[in-house]
């Protein structure tokens, strides 16, 4: 049998994972739904006329996704944090690739689908309730003047934002950065034996500060004063009084850099997770 990937073995592994964790996952998803509903109720109570506006819905979805997704990601390989669980996990007759793929299926794909479904279930119910509350409030206070405009359920995957001359879907970028950051937390769960969430968060903050310092102080000292525009295809050299000078870079550089920034981080972290799992000793 193939020692890297066998569909049958992988399905066995995913079923085994589900049967061992279904109680925990079901309770977790129920708790998450409860927390969202409580938060939305709080919002309706605090702002009865302005409840469940778009920013609340978008904010709840993305803040929740980042926090819960990264927390869950940091527990995906938590078995490796204790010797008995680690021995049990590493001794299961499946390849490291299958184990990584199974963890990613639950941690990335299924979690994302369940979270989005839960959000929309809670959002659908609470928007209906918010509209009823807001309508009653409107009838009492504003019915003679302003028109009542009911809240709509937002599409959390679509939101146009104008950047320069182009429209970008800002929420698509949010999603990409979520998957990139979550993948770092997944890697952290293999690297760090204890407190992987906190340690990964600290490493990410340190890495972020290092990149800022490096680009600002080190790279900045080699590059003339200016800034990029239109992605990375144009560099404006600032000059006192005169017109700005423009350096145009080849389009392929811009395309490659943007592609890597958007899509490369998560897969790179997933691949590193696989190799780290392969070299894990218990």
């Amino acid at each position: 049998m193939n020692q890297i990937f066998s569909l049958n073995r992988w399905l066995l592994l995913t079923r085994k994972h589900w049967s061992e964790n279904r109680k925990k996952y079901t309770l977790g998803l129920m708790a998450l739904t409860g927390i969202m509903i409580v938060w939305f109720i709080f919002n309706i109570i605090m702002e009865p006329y302005n409840a469940m506006d778009e920013s609340i819905q978008y904010g709840t979805y993305y803040i929740g996704l980042f926090i819960v997704g990264c927390l869950y990601g940091s527990t995906l390989f938590s078995e490796l944090s204790s010797r008995p669980k680690g021995i049990n996990y590493l001794s299961v007759p499946a390849s490291h690739f299958e184990k990584t793929l199974s963890a990613l299926l639950y941690g990335v794909v299924i979690f994302f689908l369940c979270y989005t479904l839960i959000f929309y279930v809670a959002d659908f119910i609470m928007v209906k309730i918010a509209n009823a509350v807001s309508y009653a409030y409107w009838e009492k206070h504003y019915s003679d003047g302003q028109a009542f405009s009911p809240r709509k359920i937002v599409n959390v995957f679509w939101g146009n934002e104008r950047a320069g001359r182009v429209n970008i879907n800002i929420f698509f970028l949010f999603l990409l950065s979520y998957f990139a950051i979550q993948s770092a937390f997944i890697l952290g769960s293999v690297y760090f034996v204890k407190f992987s969430f906190i340690k990964t968060a600290l490493v990410l903050i340190a890495a972020f500060l290092f990149i800022i310092m490096f680009t600002g102080k080190v790279l900045g000292s080699f590059v003339p004063i200016g800034g990029f525009s239109n992605g990375f295809s144009t560099y404006h050299l600032y000059s006192d009084g005169d017109m700005d000078k423009i350096i145009r870079l080849p389009e392929w550089i811009n395309s490659i850099v943007l592609f890597l920034l958007k899509y490369a981080f998560a897969p790179i972290f997933w691949v590193v997770t696989y190799f780290r799992l392969k070299e894990k000793e218990i």
Partner: protein, 277 residues
């Protein structure tokens, strides 16, 4: 089956093995003895692919254990000293864990569970440590893996369970399997193992077949002060002095593993010289 050559292993600064070499064959139950911290568990984990050698080579069933390939993992089963079981019923093990082991036998598993007197309808979470361990041993045996590694299997078992364990193990071996039992409770392995390997200071101190030991050494109670003085090992008991001596006249005596172990640890070179003669 298992070939270990020049194994070096250390935990950060603490060296555990500095050139350990060992060959183990199928059809035997090996007793791996040694003081606490001498590397018994480390050796088992290296064989199981859970630890990687710093230097040297470990080959098990023709595989490099460190690669942890699925075919290797399905042919090796380890019962660690500290183990983990999810909170699931026994039937879960058969439904979700057993399919990973192509030679798993449900009837064998049920038979072992019965022999260990485990209620088959209970959940693992509701079981005592000893019961869980017996389930794990039963499962390991029922996988029919070529290699079974047991790390301190009798720890946490009561007197009756220890005797059940010996009975179950004795009936489970065939010429295609190899069992390695690591323990410091040597009494628990009596009449079970057929080769003794003693590790000390990261090296093999003693490695002999039980049959060979019985031919070379004699274990008995003695009242003869001269004999006691020249014994390889002696300790006083209520009946007299328990001694280990050279079996000069080819007499048959029951091997006392505890005495043998003490003799090797305290008087290793002299005991070894008996086997080299």
């Amino acid at each position: 089956m298992i070939s270990i050559h020049d194994l070096h292993f250390s935990y950060k600064k603490k060296k555990v093995f500095t050139g350990l070499s060992l060959q183990l064959k199928t059809g035997h139950i090996y007793g791996l003895l040694g003081k606490n911290g001498t590397g018994k568990s480390t050796l088992l984990r290296s064989i199981a692919g859970l630890l990687f050698p710093d230097k040297g080579k470990v080959e098990v069933l023709g595989y490099d254990p460190a690669k942890r390939e699925p075919d290797f993992l399905s042919d090796v089963f380890m019962v660690p000293e500290e183990f983990y079981f999810p909170n699931v019923p026994l039937s879960y093990l058969i439904k979700h864990h057993a399919p990973f082991y192509p030679r798993f036998s449900e009837s064998q598993f049920n038979k072992y569970i019965q022999e260990f007197e485990i209620p088959s309808d209970s959940t693992l979470q509701n079981m005592s440590y000893g019961q869980k361990k017996k389930v794990l041993i039963s499962f390991g045996l029922a996988t029919n893996s070529s290699l079974l590694l047991l790390d301190e299997p009798t720890n946490g078992l009561d007197i009756m369970s220890k005797s059940q364990f010996r009975k179950v193990m004795a009936g489970a071996l065939d010429e295609k399997k190899c069992v390695i039992i690591s323990t410091h409770q040597v009494k628990d392995l009596e009449n079970l193992i057929d080769r003794i390997t003693i590790i000390d200071e990261g090296a093999i101190l003693f490695d002999q077949d039980i049959e060979h030991i019985a031919g070379k050494l004699s274990f008995r109670i003695s009242h003869d002060s001269e004999e006691i003085k020249h014994a390889l090992y002696s300790e006083s008991s209520l009946k007299g002095s328990a001694i280990v001596t050279t079996n000069t006249f080819g007499e048959e005596s029951k091997i006392d593993l505890e005495l043998l172990y003490k003799a090797i640890v305290t008087n290793g070179p002299k005991v070894q010289s008996v086997f080299n003669a």
